[in-house]
């Protein structure tokens, strides 16, 4: 069986890595990683705006964003993907590639989840930081820009990393709208071989595990470091400090 798996990797590694590129669209693992990185990069600034809107005193800012966040968290990602699958072409009037559809969905979805992370980071700083910044003469925006956000985002680096992990896992759902990612490539391999589905999907699981585990590992190490630094205990052995556990989003 391990023999079969090695043979599959030997024969199909290029397809699994970059899909049919350059004879077709870029796909495989490369596409999975590009899709995840792009959606986090786009969701990040949006999530900061969402978080600030949710913490704002103005109900006009707070309510719509809160509703959007609750809606996004209460509906399965698969449903959202199907929505954008027919809404995005309808709104843009153009033939939109499935990659863009998936990217749009992921940005909305991850913005909602990340905004909760950012909000928690801001709330965790405590009101004293804001009071002090205001006392020093900063306006609300200046205080946010120079005092609150730099600290909150620094503390949130591990959670952002684990959101990245969950985004990588979420990209697999692009399978339903034929996004040419790693899962899609593996099912192509499976369709060509027909006789070794277990081996093919085990390889797929191992690849995802290797990537996500590595990132989770770094997120946990970073979290320990940051917890110690925030506590002013950089020289204390890690074992003496127990950080709050990273709860990565499911899927």
């Amino acid at each position: 069986m391990i023999h079969d798996m090695i043979a599959i990797v030997r024969d199909y590694w290029l397809l699994l890595l970059i899909g049919q590129y350059p004879n077709g669209p870029l796909g495989g693992l490369a596409n999975t990683l590009i899709l995840s990185a792009l959606s986090i990069a786009l969701a990040f600034p949006v999530s900061i705006l969402f978080a600030m809107a949710r913490l704002s005193k103005s109900p006009l800012l707070r309510w719509p964003v809160t509703a959007l966040v609750y809606f996004t968290r209460g509906v399965p990602l698969l449903m959202l993907i199907l929505w954008s699958y027919f809404l995005v072409p309808l709104l843009t009037g153009a033939d939109v590639p499935s990659f863009v559809t998936m990217l749009t969905t992921l940005v909305v979805y991850q913005s909602a989840f990340l905004s909760e992370v950012v909000r928690a980071g801001i709330v965790a700083l405590g009101p004293g930081q804001m009071d002090a910044a205001r006392a020093l003469g900063h306006g609300h925006v200046g205080a946010m820009r120079y005092i609150i956000l730099p600290q909150a985002l620094y503390n949130m680096i591990p959670s952002i990393l684990s959101t990245f992990v969950s985004t990588i896992k979420d990209t697999t759902l692009g399978y339903v709208i034929n996004v040419p990612d790693l899962t899609f490539a593996a099912s192509q391999v499976n369709n060509q071989l027909l006789t070794q589905p277990f081996q093919v999907f085990l390889i797929l699981a191992i690849v995802y595990f290797a990537i996500c585990w590595t990132l989770t590992y770094f997120a946990n190490r970073l979290e320990r470091r940051i917890t110690r630094r925030r506590a002013g205990l950089l020289n204390v052995p890690a074992a003496l400090v127990t950080p709050s556990k990273i709860v990565s989003e499911q899927l």
């Binding site: 809606f71 209460g74 509906v75 399965p76 990602l77 698969l78 449903m79 199907l82 929505w83 027919f86 992990v165 990588i168 896992k169 979420d170 697999t172 759902l173 399978y175 339903v176 899962t183 099912s187 499976n190 589905p197 277990f198 081996q199 093919v200 999907f201 085990l202 797929l204 699981a205 995802y208 595990f209 996500c212 585990w213 989770t216 556990k245 709860v247 990565s248 499911q250 899927l251």
Partner: protein
């Protein structure tokens, strides 16, 4: 396609029957995988708390696998992979008895057990060590101290993440459509194919999911309130 018209779907008994069947299957998958996950999570937790030396790394590996491999890939591995490796008698039996739903329950349940067991573990860990010492000093044995002193407090601490993860499990039950189970998302896609009323049927499907997610959340909120009225009032 003419204007927005919900009655094109809700007025059609055939579509309503399909939706109801989808809801029923979604709940069967949710209830089945939730029970499997909870039973396994308790088992994993006791393995971790036991003096058995290899318990810890075994559970850690289990949790790590299920948290770092996408649920969809786990489902595919079960349905497309492990299914084909099964002895033919068992395979046939499964094929007759709605194999898609059974593998959805297995895949989602095993995966969810990892999250539930972590929730329970951090709940139990947050019960101070003094509680165990006090219980032992009062004459409880290990098992009865666990049963009467530690676990009730641990489960209460673990309730909020358990509820969150139960909602996630409910939403993830939609993944079963990819291995061909005829649950709610499947019904939505079928009705879309038959009626071409894309907007209306997705709206109905989305509202149903949102409604049931909110119901599960409120049941959870009620349970936490009953478990600890004082703390919920503070929160």
């Amino acid at each position: 396609m003419s204007g927005f018209d919900l009655s094109a779907i809700l007025g059609n008994p055939e579509y309503v029957a399909m939706l109801l069947h989808g809801i029923e299957m979604t709940f069967i998958i949710f209830a089945g995988s939730w029970s499997l996950a909870m039973a396994l999570a308790v088992l994993l937790l006791s393995l971790r708390l036991s003096p058995f030396r290899f318990g810890d790394p075994i559970v850690a590996a289990y949790v790590s696998y299920h948290r770092n491999v996408p649920t969809l890939v786990q489902l595919m591995l079960w349905y497309f992979g492990i299914f084909t490796l099964m002895p033919s008698g068992l395979g046939e039996w499964l094929a007759i008895h709605n194999a898609e739903a059974i593998f959805a329950v297995i895949g989602l349940g095993l995966c969810q057990a990892a999250y539930f067991s972590e929730d329970l573990r951090s709940g139990v860990r947050s019960v101070g060590p003094g509680q165990m010492e006090a219980a032992r000093a009062l004459g409880h044995g290990y098992v009865s101290a666990m049963r009467f002193v530690i676990m009730p407090q641990g489960v209460r601490n673990a309730l909020p993440p358990l509820i969150n993860h139960s909602v996630s499990l409910f939403k993830n039950s939609s993944l079963a459509v990819i291995i061909g189970a005829s649950e709610l998302t499947h019904a939505v896609k079928e009705i879309e194919n038959l009626s071409f009323r894309t907007f209306e049927i997705y709206l109905i499907g989305t509202v149903l999911y949102l409604f049931f997610s909110l119901v599960i959340m409120s049941i959870g909120a009620y349970l936490s309130m009953r478990a600890d009225p004082a703390r919920s009032a503070r929160a």
